[in-house]
């Protein structure tokens, strides 16, 4: 299968818009929840805190929205891996896998130090 630059551009654009849109909806809903319920403590969060039972809904929604936003570029990388594997462009599939590996390492090692 030969490279299809137009498909690359179209898929990347679509993924970025979906990620941004989802994050915007989550954070916007969190903002509305904050306005409805009044000021809530908004401590700095670690990823695991987002699922804590006592966390205010507005803070949880904002936090998940931030997580979705932060993950959007990574999802874009994964989508390009899939696209380049389908096109049998092994060189660039390997490039994208290397980028994904560094991103994974960033999250995995982030809890140390």
């Amino acid at each position: 299968m030969s490279p299809d630059p137009a498909a690359e551009r179209r898929d990347v654009q679509l993924l970025l818009r979906i990620g941004l849109g989802t994050a915007a909806v989550l954070m916007g809903t969190g903002l509305l929840a904050a306005l409805a319920s009044g000021p809530q403590p908004s401590p700095p969060l670690q990823i695991g805190d987002l699922w804590h039972r006592d966390l205010a809904l507005s803070v949880r929604l904002c936090g998940i929205g931030i997580l979705v936003l932060s993950a959007t570029p990574a999802v874009r990388v994964i989508a390009l891996i899939v696209l380049w594997v389908r096109e049998r462009d092994w060189k660039y599939a390997a490039v994208a896998v290397a980028v994904a590996a560094v991103l994974t390492l960033a999250v995995a090692l982030g809890s140390r130090g």
Binding site: S70, P73, V99
Partner: protein, 249 residues
């Protein structure tokens, strides 16, 4: 670039949380702009992905170093980057388009490409790929350390070293910034340096400011914008140095 010093100096926010908030706003604005630019055909996606190996690795290193060094040292490095940006903004940006397609690395990685121009698709060749890769690593380290997009270093790499057309380097750099910032944001999220309320507020403010700025841009002479930008940035840099040396940051 001004978010971190404004939060740290103006609002007394711990510089690490200021960097976390800045990273989130960088991802948001970069992803939004990339979604618009990538379809137009200026962005060299393959070049961007290849250089992202360097920027994300650099960002990982920078984010780790940020956790080890004192906030005073971070502020001093930030001040140096601000002064460099002020210096670059005062210089005209020269375009160095290359039609030389012979670079070994560019040919092996199929990096040479075309960009849309009024006269049709124009070819360009990518030069000095290893040098550009190294400069992108430095850009990544600064991004992870300071929570910025490192546009100044990326411009240096893409315009001067790799000889890309302006619109290709700008859009490809913008395409890469989101992934670079995401690498650092992953570290900051795991360490609890992301304040959702602060990050969301900063992101909303930056997006609103960008919309207003886009409306005002045609009304303001570029020379005055450059002067204003340089004044603001130099003032912030001096403030950062003062607070770092007196231990107030």
């Amino acid at each position: 670039m001004v978010i971190v010093p404004l939060l740290a100096i103006g609002f007394g926010v711990n510089i690490r949380y200021a960097i976390g908030a800045s990273l989130i706003s960088v991802i948001a604005t970069s992803s939004g702009a990339a979604a618009a630019f990538v379809r137009e055909g200026y962005t060299n996606i393959r070049l961007g992905m290849f250089l992202e190996i360097a920027t994300t690795t650099g960002a990982l290193v920078g984010a780790f170093v940020a956790g080890l060094v004192s906030t005073q040292w971070i502020a001093l490095v930030f001040a140096a980057v601000l002064l460099h940006s002020a210096y670059l903004s005062g210089r005209p940006r020269a375009e160095h388009i290359s039609h030389d397609m012979s670079d070994r690395w560019a040919r092996w990685l199929a990096l040479n490409s075309t960009y849309p121009a009024p006269e049709g698709l124009q070819p360009y060749g990518v030069q000095h790929v290893p040098l550009g890769f190294g400069l992108m690593f430095v850009a990544g380290v600064l991004s992870g350390l300071l929570g910025i997009g490192s546009g100044a270093v990326k411009v240096l790499a893409m315009d001067n070293a790799m000889r890309l057309p302006f619109k290709v380097s700008t859009t490809t750099s913008n395409f890469m910034i989101g992934v670079t910032a995401a690498a650092s944001a992953g570290v900051y999220l795991r360490r609890g340096y992301i304040d959702p309320g602060l990050s969301f507020s900063v992101m909303l403010g930056v997006l609103a400011g960008a919309l207003v700025g886009a409306r005002l841009l045609p009304l303001v002479h570029a020379r005055w914008l450059r002067i204003l930008f340089s004044l603001v940035v130099v003032t912030l840099a001096i403030e950062m140095v003062y607070k770092a040396l007196t231990g107030r940051i």
